[in-house]
Symmetry: D2
């Protein structure tokens, strides 16, 4: 950490900062300049992050050089983390395609969609039982009944299933039926939920919040790893910007940056990011080309009658075409499908 | 709702949309143009918001004219809602100043701060017992012990207390000690928590999410009112933008707009929005001038040693000066302090 | 400037940075830590800002402590700059209200509007002769004819006039008729125009770009002052964010921050920022309460038939009401109207 | 265009809107509902875009169904536009790679860079002679001398050259030396410059503004086409968002969307978008996978000593590696390098 003092800060002000640092158990290294003194601070991450020096007299700026996370960092753990569920892998060269409907609506809908995505090559099945909806008047999901249908569909087609935990109180219940627990964008900084999921032994798929920075996403993942759960998959799903043509702005440079900063697998969700069916395929290709370890794609047997996210859902036929179109990108550079063997 | 068909959509495509509307129980009114047909839709809010027509063949755009909320709307309830707790009022001309430390750190700290803000004229006391922190290595609050200290401080100085519910599982516990339950920006779309708080009989202070639109804030409040709890206070606390000089961008036009759109009281939190002590006072004045029903201000007896948000906390002396400086703005236009009698 | 080296950067890498600094004529002060070395750099602003060290091997981050501007800084020139044109002042306690139509449409329209705003208390007259329009099919302004009408209207009612320079080639022509030359938001970083205006002897009203930071606005003003023209007025007119209820987001904390950072007068334009007539008055009050030195307000004798920005234009009656409503805010704190004597 | 009246708007208010439409020469089609009346408007694009109905009494919202552009639209011109300069093509399957230094610094630098990028396979040469810089104290480019050096380098290696027009007064001079004229992001809405370039017979490379929407980019291009110049290349170069890890956020969904909306070639500039050398290659791959017709890449023989954008410039060796890495993406789907024959 660096503390940059204001121009011509007094000796008293400088001493005062140094005393604060010593009290907290950190070391201070002064670098006096003609107009500005800069204080280098050395100490534990916990100490550094609990210090609040910005308000001290004479302090102009405090720069934290240490990152607010450690366990998720590639510096700390250089090899790729590979998350494997029921034989289906993601990370370390294994590419996942997690496909299925936005929400589970009926047995027929989820079974037929599961079969369609399986036969087209998906490596995992997704489906929402609890749906976060902006308006309280919109469809909120089938709840536990949906969970059971999703689990049954996964069993039938032999794919692991991914679904969202919307309420921390439901985490155990969801974990009883799902193979991977998803944290939605709106809950990325629901720290109590992250703490709880950190204690579980199921992989977590953590979506980036709509206005979360890369550093905040990594810090949220750190909460889970700090609890003991090392199987976290990060998901870029679009950030909120001024552009309204797409629902959100898919930040693929974040995918490439995350692959450098962390050992955790990183996937992209072009369906939610764009909100437009006709942009899903090009953004899937782009995400893989940027280095993503996988994709999350909404597929519905009958998008016209979907109870949520119809406009961005692919038909099974669209999805088949997409899967054929990305084969050359997946196998490029020694990568391979993370299919259950 | 309006469905705008693509140029030269076929009769079959138009009929298909109309059939979908009829199936859902809505009425369709066609307005055929030379190149474009527009379909006006009439039906219940619940029906309209559950329809997903964007994906139908030939549909170019769907425009929802009905707002996704109703109970919070001023159209539905023209008079100002006044929230009163322990004789202290907010709304309908009563101006609240909710002051106190970011986090409760010790008995001495909270008691002395409470006395200081009370004597300077604050109408409510705030303090955090559970703190949402980006990094898992930062101070997370004193928990239940903090709650007890805050409640005791409120009793001593005769002010109602406001504190955040961070975990839906703690809602009852927090409600046992606090007079107003705060939902933080990161939980604004934690719909399960909103549902739970909708069933409680304590007023809720709902903070705007970092990237939430005005419409989304009102929809989040609608969740609470729909559950039966009518006492909701909205709080503008800055949105996330590209500007980094301030921590967030305080959107005071949102305050003025909310006062027109809803009957609920609306306050502003310049401390969190700006993150800079020297901008708190001018933004407090600006918020009141924009029509806010109150302010939320961080005050700490010793900001230098605050365990959170020190850089933006006012000293008791700063706060006294602020309170004197805003008197003319509060009493303007027939408004008055919402102090407990 | 600080150069933060990567963890365990080699001695060669550190020497290499130091050599680069010496070659450029800057001094380097090493601050070696256990894992990280930090290099403090001292030198001229010009040298510091021309250095590009981010790409050197072993460099993690470069932090510029020196601001990219100097002449506009309050550190450099602590007293408020007061811009005076034809006896009408702005800055140093003098509050300006610059009112008039978005665009000049006819002699009758501009004369009647000028009389109306003058009698309601405006201190300057505005009007657009050259209009920047997103679509090439929208009304582009009356051009030179509009300039002449505006100048004539100003003479008749005894107010200085403000108008936009849209094309650097027109700067002389506009200066021949106008008292203050406006740089629109889209031209804030049209550096060639800033250079040109820096050589002129007319005050410049510089609007903040839609996505310009506070630092970039100050740097743009620095271009003008560097050319020799010291009379620059800054204008906050809303930044582009994700919120769509208002046209832009009026950043009033930027007004308060600018008042601290620079000696130049700072005004706000709630008409363009909000794009909604019913938000103009509360945002005018809020801007003054935040410390603005003035307001820019669109007024049209017949907003329904305005050829541009009708939805946000006030009628003369609205404007009169607004002016009466802000009197107490203007005279607060020893401020006064900057009216021509 | 649709005019949505407020709930229970009066007959007088509706008639008033209709009269306004008739006066302007547009047709009005009423669609009365129980609570809301909607008025469909039919007329010329020019008329529709000059109407300002939002302020009329009783009007709630005005929705423009017609796009603000026409000539750039794929509806109007379904086949891909192919821009060809000196035998080097872009669009219609021909992929361009425009490489070279951010700024021209010396004869040696530009010649050696030109040779390096030519031999690695670049199809065009770029280089800045006039540089837009945030700070007036940063290097502003070599000016006309730089133009001559660039033109000479292009001749020697047999590649067309691209350079920025920073000042409308220099357009002719730049056109005398360059093959393609670039409009920088900060000038995207410099409408007077767009008008001027619309009259020239050189292709224009139009960069998206930092906070410009897709629709605004297309409207800016429309200015050029409306002037008669049909050879416009669009360039996505990152938009400004809250994320600070990358310099801007590369919006690749905008590339895919533009390819659907317009017939003009669309390229991406990952160097400026990311500001980080190590993200350039993955973002180049991603851009091509998203459907871009080309790339713009900063290459410098000695990035450490670059006078601008060193941190994001590739070395000739990096660039060679990049070019080999993208071959499979370029030749995919029947595309080919747009190299001069």
């Amino acid at each position: 950490m660096l503390v940059i003092m204001r121009d011509h800060a007094t000796k008293d002000q400088i001493d005062h900062v140094v005393n604060n640092l010593h009290e907290a158990g950190a070391e201070a290294h002064l670098s006096p300049g003609e107009v500005k003194t800069i204080i280098g601070v050395i100490g534990d991450r916990e100490v550094i992050y609990s210090l609040e020096l910005e308000g001290l007299p004479g302090v102009e700026q405090v720069i934290r050089v240490l990152k607010p996370y450690k366990l998720v960092s590639r510096d700390f753990h250089p090899e790729d983390t590979v998350v494997t569920v029921k034989g289906s892998a993601i990370g370390g060269g294994a590419i996942a395609v997690i496909a299925g409907p936005c929400s589970i609506e009926s047995e027929d809908q989820v079974m037929r969609t599961a079969e369609a995505v399986r036969s087209a090559g998906a490596t995992m099945l997704r489906g929402g039982a609890y749906k976060p909806r902006t308006s309280p008047y919109a469809f909120q999901g089938m709840g536990e009944e949906g969970l059971l249908l999703l689990a049954e569909a996964g069993r039938r087609v032999g794919l692991p299933v991914v679904t969202e935990v919307l309420d921390v109180r439901d985490a155990e219940k969801v974990a009883a039926h799902a193979d991977i627990l998803q944290v939605g964008a709106r809950n990325m900084q629901n720290f109590m939920m992250l703490d709880e999921l950190g204690k579980m032994d199921k992989p977590i798929l953590l979506k980036r919040g709509l206005s979360a920075t890369i550093e905040e996403l990594l810090s949220a993942a750190e909460y889970i790893l700090k609890g003991g759960n090392r199987d976290v998959i990060l998901c870029e799903r679009g950030i909120r910007t001024f552009e309204t043509y797409t629902r959100n702005t898919l930040d693929l440079a974040a995918v490439a940056a995350l692959k450098q900063l962390t050992h955790l697998p990183v996937i992209a969700d072009p369906s939610h990011a764009t909100g437009r069916r006709d942009l899903v395929a090009p953004m899937c290709r782009a995400a893989l080309a940027a280095g993503a370890d996988g994709l999350m794609v909404e597929v519905h047997i009958d998008p016209e009658h979907a109870r949520c996210d119809g406009p961005q859902s692919l038909t099974p036929a669209d999805f088949s075409t997409l899967m054929r179109g990305i084969t050359s990108l997946v196998t490029f550079d020694g990568h391979h499908w993370g299919l259950p063997s």
